[in-house]
């Protein structure tokens, strides 16, 4: 899933954490939404960005 597809599906932008919350490893992003936050981790692969919700 590309970042633009992700934004389309979830209807919101996301931004990489400046300081990751403890326990998160790798590249971690936050959704820019008014909902209770959901951490997402992104795994960069050759075909685009593979996002998994936590």
């Amino acid at each position: 899933m590309s970042s633009s597809e992700f934004t389309q599906v979830h209807g919101t932008e996301f931004r990489e954490y400046s300081r990751k919350p403890p326990g998160l490893t790798g590249r971690a992003f936050r959704l820019r939404t008014r909902r209770i936050p959901t951490f997402i981790r992104l795994r960069v692969v050759t075909s685009g960005i593979d996002a998994s919700l936590k």
Partner: protein
């Protein structure tokens, strides 16, 4: 930023807020190079008592201490225990007077009066230098509010706000912005007022369900309309809101 929550205050809000130090609106009407990097501060009341107060000079977005303090606050009341309350205040400073950049000038300021601990943060400046040695104009305004308080509820703060506004005009030649947030741990008082540059001196208020968030610009998809000028809003720990026009 100011938050009243009956649950936790989640970490992402602090991340979003810190972004404003470099990307937030500046007096010219857009972000500029100076940003709001002259100081930062966080204060957190838990169930009415001041639990955390940390501030420093410099840019929040570069400060490990900022994020460490944010994480400490974000861990409070994660269990959502009924009857618990958190009031959090956060400030990013853009010094209006060159040279007055130091930890002691970073908001929120905290003072105790008659056994009550008050925290205050302000955006704007007085037209004339108040000439109080060792104090910036925001501290002068804070002391003015405290000096005029005859209670700690909404009506008392509204009366003290009116007196402080009058003093700012009569004694100090007026103000650019008089936006402030004030808390005693039981309520968060939010006031927006300006004599110039109303496009910049904004404040937004929105209800997220278990918490109410006030911020100088919308964060995390907050309501897009700023609160009106000259109205004092008071949010209690039960999230009930009172408002009074300040004349």
């Amino acid at each position: 930023m100011g938050i009243v929550s009956r649950g936790p205050v989640y970490y992402d809000l602090f991340e979003e807020f810190a972004d404003l130090a470099t990307q937030g609106m500046c007096p010219i009407g857009a972000p500029d190079e100076r940003g709001h990097k002259d100081g930062w501060g966080l204060a957190c009341f838990q169930n009415g008592a001041l639990k955390i107060h940390m501030r420093d000079a410099g840019c929040a977005a570069d400060a490990s201490k900022y994020y460490g303090t944010a994480w400490k606050i974000a861990k409070l009341n994660i269990e959502r225990t009924p009857g618990q309350s958190l009031i959090v205040m956060g400030h990013l400073r853009r010094a209006s007077v060159a040279g007055l950049v130091a930890q002691k000038y970073s908001h929120p300021f905290v003072e105790e009066r008659d056994g009550v601990t008050w925290a205050f943060q302000h955006n704007g400046s007085l037209v004339n230098d108040p000439g109080e040695k060792g104090q910036i104009d925001s501290q002068v305004l804070f002391h003015s509010v405290l000096d005029h308080l005859d209670g700690r509820g909404h009506a008392a703060v509204a009366k003290a706000t009116a007196a402080m506004r009058e003093l700012a005009i009569d004694k100090h030649g007026g103000f650019t912005g008089l936006n402030f947030m004030l808390s005693d741990g039981q309520s968060l008082h939010i006031y927006r007022d300006f004599q110039t540059n109303g496009e910049y001196y904004t404040l937004y208020l929105d209800n997220f369900g278990e918490m109410i968030v006030a911020a100088s610009e919308p964060i995390l998809a907050m309501r897009a309309e700023p609160i009106p000028r000259g109205i004092l809003f008071t949010v209690g720990t039960n999230l009930e809101t009172q408002r009074t026009a300040i004349d």
